[in-house]
Symmetry: C2
Subunit: 168 residues, 2 copies
């Protein structure tokens, strides 16, 4: 078991088993007009493995969440999207009150160029049918909570919009 | 901005802005036979506020995830449930490869007693219509990523089961 002892700038000490992600970040569930989800493979050093995820990243200082979402979709996947929906902001650890995920649904996604590899690890971009992506949540290809939450929220929003459209 | 400098037992140093939740934990989306979701109010010291969430907690050493889920539902809410579905395990921070949320859907939930307040803060238990709980994800009453993810996954699973039942 890994134990961490941390001293915060205000003098408080944390002698506990876990601490938290502190910078705000965005995760983007981007869909093409054909209903395909834009996924990216990330290499994760902790697990020494490649995991399937969604375009995501930290929000730069002074950057709006949606601007960060557009930038990450462009940089990580090489995609732009015509329609953006804010699916909310969620704190990673409510006990400490910091570290927030901003979730976006982007529709009308289309490839506009190559990914820009600003991270150390190159990513591979895939288009995955939404139903297949949902299966990959249950069966473990997509394992990261932040990405799974964004995908699940996007699916619920898309289904709600479909029901609304059917009623109209 | 909070900066942390951590030395791990193997000698590695982490000079970064964030670290992670390390102990595995469970979150339970429990539904009564009337389709009401069992929610609990948590006081969170970080934000000095009360947030709406789901029964959740750390897995004790040697305890199975589902046993922890049953225990937390009983302790935090005073409920038991007849049908348990494993909705997967998701890593909070894939970069470090540790800290996993285990999500469970519990159906046939019924009140069997008072909550057991093992935490410092007392919790208040509410029964909320599932549709209302989904709205509370979009409109901010439920703000914690771990709970929102569990609720969203439960909604998708319930909808999928309903579609399957309709086909049968």
């Amino acid at each position: 078991m890994l134990e961490e002892h941390i001293k915060l700038p205000d003098g408080r000490r944390v002698d506990d088993f876990y601490t938290i992600r502190l910078r705000d970040f965005v995760v983007v569930a981007a869909l093409t007009d054909e209903g395909k989800l834009v996924t990216v493979e990330h290499y994760r050093h902790g697990s020494r493995s490649v995991t399937q995820g969604l375009p995501s990243g930290f929000i730069d200082e002074g950057e709006s969440p949606v601007a960060a979402a557009r930038r990450e979709l462009r940089e990580e996947a090489g995609y732009e999207a015509s329609e953006w929906s804010d699916l909310g902001r969620y704190v990673v650890d409510g006990n400490r009150g910091c570290g927030t995920e901003h979730v976006f649904l982007a529709r009308g996604a289309r490839r506009v160029g190559d990914p820009v590899h600003v991270d150390l690890a190159a990513t591979t971009v895939h288009l995955v049918a939404l139903e297949r992506a949902v299966e990959s949540m249950w069966y473990g290809d997509m394992r990261e909570l932040a990405c799974v939450a964004a995908l699940a929220l996007a699916v619920i929003r898309i289904n709600a919009d479909t029901v609304s459209a059917g009623r109209a």
